[in-house]
Structure formats: C-alpha cells, structure tokens
C-alpha cells in the first residue's frame, strides 16, 4: 500500500504541500478557539444554573442555610439575609467582617447576618468551641471580634495555635471556668458536624462563602458581595 510508495514520488509535489499545511493550521486554530469558547460558555451556564438552584433551594427550604443554633445578627424580619460560612482562622474572613458590618450599618434593619462554621483549618474547631461556649454566656459577637482582632497572633502564617486564643479574649469578660467546661459540651460537636455537613451540601469549599438570600457570589470578591447585596436589597425593597 502506501508504505511501498517509491521515495522519488514522495518528494514530488512540493508546491502542493503548502495547501494542506495551511488547512492544518486552520483546523488547529479552529479547534483551539472552539474548545476555549466551549469551556467559557460551559462555565457561565454552570455557574448561572447553580446560582438559580441555590436560590430556589433557599426559597423552598432554608434549613441547610440557617439552623436554629446559628448565631445571627440584625433584624429577624429583614428581607435580605446574608449567610456566611466562615473559619475563625481564615484571614479573608477577618478582612471581610467589617465589610459586612458596614453593609448592615448602611442599610439599617434591612439585612440580617447568619454565621455558619466551616472550620477547614486544623485546630479551627477548637476556636469554634470557644465561640459556641461564649455564645452561651451571651457574648458571641464580642468574642468573635476579639478572636479576629488577635488572629495574626494566634494563627501566624495560617498555622493556628488555637490554645493561644484564650490569652487574647480576656477583655471580653467571659467566665473562664464556665467557658472551658462548656467548650467540651457534646452538642457543640453536633453543631460543628451539622455546619460542616451543610457546607458540603451547599458546595462550600473555601471560606468565607456568602449566600445572599440563597444566591452564592458569582465570583469571589468584596465588590461582588456588595453588588449582590445591593441587587438583592433593590428587589426586596422595591
């Protein structure tokens, strides 16, 4: 067959080679562009679909987003609800905390904030235990502020040393004997497991993750969060 084609013949149509080569390049470029566009289109469609699904799930049943045990801030009747999955050892969570507070202050009584635990760093669950025990003394938010304020001291370079946290929350005025007793309460473990399970259900793999009335951020960023909150406010309080 073709293998036995004499060598002389192979060299013959030099001029003709130009044409298939140009065709080959065309095919290659066409395929490359097509694949890239398919990827981008697929990503957009997927994100949009997920966002709608999450919002629908939220409208139907909020239970995976908000549990009875979840600490919440702001007017319970607010029409816009920000659900934030956070890790006390996560730097970005700390950075974003004042941002969310500012959004709430700018729109009084219209936004409610619900916090969920996503202790992805090793040792973070210890800090969550402290927060939950502080909640029983009615000082969750003060303790959280103190935990975030001292984060660089007890979690340098993303390596949390959670035992140090207790040194930095003295000013909150917690009953420390009661705190260390409450920290080991088995229902706190249940809360952590529940939150982690919900994080998995909602596909939360990074912190902080926000859901505004069930809608996740289209992409991560402070501006995106502000826009999403403002759009949701605009539709809720038309």
């Amino acid at each position: 067959m073709t293998r036995k084609a004499p060598k002389v013949q192979q060299k013959q149509p030099k001029a003709k080679q130009q044409e298939p080569k140009a065709k080959q390049a065309q095919w290659f470029i066409f395929a490359a562009v097509f694949l890239l566009l398919a990827f981008i289109a697929g990503a957009l469609v997927y994100k949009n679909q997920k966002s709608n699904e999450a919002a629908e799930a939220y409208q139907r049943d909020k239970s995976t987003f908000v549990r009875a045990h979840s600490p919440a801030l702001g007017n319970p009747g607010a029409k816009v609800e920000i659900v934030e999955f956070f890790d006390p050892a996560c730097e970005t969570c700390k950075e974003f905390a004042p941002l969310v507070k500012k959004l709430m202050a700018d729109n009084p009584d219209r936004i409610r904030l619900v916090l969920r635990y996503a202790p992805f760093h090793t040792g973070s669950d210890y800090v969550v235990r402290i927060l939950e025990a502080a909640k029983r003394q009615g000082k969750f938010w003060e303790t959280l502020d103190a935990v975030f304020a001292s984060q660089s001291s007890w979690a340098p370079n993303h390596r949390p040393q959670p035992q140090l946290v207790l040194n930095y929350i003295g000013r909150v005025g917690l009953d420390s004997a009661r705190l260390s007793q409450d920290m080991n309460a088995p229902d706190i473990e249940t809360i952590i497991q529940q939150d982690l399970a919900d994080a998995k259900t909602l596909n939360v793999t990074m912190t902080p993750e926000y859901f505004v009335n069930g809608k996740p951020l289209p992409s991560f960023g402070a501006d995106q969060l502000r826009d999403l909150v403002q759009n949701t406010l605009a539709t809720a309080y038309r």
Partner: protein
C-alpha cells in the same frame, strides 16, 4: 491512497487527535476543579502533570510535523496512563490502604463524579492517556516507514 502526501497527513491527523484528547482532558479537569469546585486529590495532580504538558508539546510536533513527536509525547502519556490505572485500582479497592499515597487533604478514593453509573474522573483520565498512547504508537508506525 495514491497521493504521496497521505502517509504524512494521516500521521499528522493522529497527532492532532492526540492533542484534541489532551486539550479536552486538560480543560475538563480545570472545569471540575475551578468551575464545579471539586478539589483535586494528589493522584489527580500527578495525572495533570502528565496531561497539561501534552497540550503544549504536541503542537510543537504538529507545526511543522515532526515524526519524532512520539519520543517526547509518549513518555508523558504512558506515565499518565500508569498513574491513572493505579488510581482506578485504588478506587476499586484492589490496592490496599497501606500503600495509598494520599494521607491528608482529599482522599483519592473519594468518588466525586459518576456518570451513567460507571464513568468516573479517573476512568476518563485512564481512557484519555491510553488512547493518546495508542494513537502515538500508530503515528510512529505510519510515519517511520
């Protein structure tokens, strides 16, 4: 089959097909991790190390066509196929836990995607690497004579 340019062309098409498979595999894996948010396990990373370079190296053998492309592409695809098959055996449970390389993070035995009841990510990976390897061997056969 009377045009003398043909053996060259068909070899080119085979390598082009390899590149298509590698590109779909690379973009697909990025879709799983970056768009769908499935974190890749260690073995997945090793397979990516073999798949991603193919996307860049194969075109070097396409323009202009280099029949030696097999020499620099086949080691990648064979190694990738080995890791993928190992991954498959691990998921299937044929390889005991003790030599499991994933200690922390995401367990490689966790199956994140199942289509039609049997198509998983490591299966797609193994098929891609094996198909690329087979096509490369075929390219060598076609262009070496």
């Amino acid at each position: 089959m009377n045009s003398p340019a043909r053996p060259h062309d068909s070899a080119w098409t085979l390598v082009f097909a390899c590149w298509l498979i590698a590109s779909v595999g690379a973009l697909g894996s990025l879709f799983f991790s970056e768009v769908m948010g499935y974190p890749p396990c260690v073995l997945c990373w090793y397979q990516r190390i073999c798949m991603y370079p193919l996307v860049l190296v194969l075109p070097a053998g396409l323009f202009p066509f280099d029949r030696k492309v097999v020499r620099y592409a086949l080691p990648l695809s064979l190694l990738g196929a080995l890791i993928a098959v190992f991954h498959l055996l691990l998921v299937a449970g044929f390889i005991p836990e003790s030599i499991k390389p994933c200690v922390q993070g995401i367990p490689c035995t966790e199956v994140q995607v199942v289509w039609f009841g049997f198509v998983t990510i490591p299966l797609l990976s193994a098929l891609s690497f094996l198909l690329i390897s087979a096509l490369l061997v075929l390219t060598y056969r076609r262009s070496s004579t």
